[in-house]
Symmetry: C2
Subunit: 123 residues, 2 copies
């Protein structure tokens, strides 16, 4: 079997980085990307005008603050933030998430600024 | 909080059905669907000519047979079958998977036949 047909082990991929709020690409599906990230603390309020954004919590607990209330995700729970909906993720403990969205989606959406980071590939 | 902003709990959704080889939609992201399925036994060889297909194993073990070898996925592992690549899933034990692919993708791809099932919604 060639390397290209090995499965992606999420735990093994998560062990390869410790940086917070930095998205790591682990798979591509058509023009969408599957990414992992470790989150702790509060991000910034931002909006993706052109796409929905999926969060699946793998460990820890993630609160996605919306302007009309919070969505709290435990491990094994997912939520899709609809396009155009302002949101701000916050995690009291270190939380691992799987993200699914179109390639090229910026982590800071329409806001940009110093927290904006390019998606990185994992080996 | 309205019902629409509750997270999707994958274990709770899996507890709502027992049917094998039947895809249950649990979330929508743009024109893509997140689906759950329970698999046991061998499916049929088929191809999706127009889309990649993502399998993430939530419990059990899934073997995705390809014409040039098998990919074995344990819980917490994912694999993307590239478009146009013939494949046949098989699971010795009951296995729960999360699927991600464009809305309208048929479970039997280009082959059709009696195993073809429409995607169902879960409450």
């Amino acid at each position: 079997m060639s390397k290209s047909v090995a499965p992606v082990n999420l735990a093994e991929k998560l062990s390869q980085f410790s940086e917070l709020w930095s998205q790591k690409k682990v798979a591509v599906l058509n023009d969408y990307e599957v990414k992992l990230a470790k989150l702790k603390g509060e991000f910034i309020w931002h909006t993706h005008e052109d796409t929905d954004e999926l969060f699946l919590v793998l460990s820890g607990r993630l609160t996605i603050q919306l302007r009309d209330g919070d969505v709290v995700l435990e491990s094994g729970e997912l939520f899709v933030v609809p396009r155009g909906v302002e949101h701000c993720p916050v995690a009291d403990e270190e939380t691992a998430v799987l993200l699914f969205e179109p390639a090229g989606t910026l982590n800071t959406g329409d806001v940009g600024g110093p927290l904006t980071k390019a998606v990185e590939n994992l080996d």
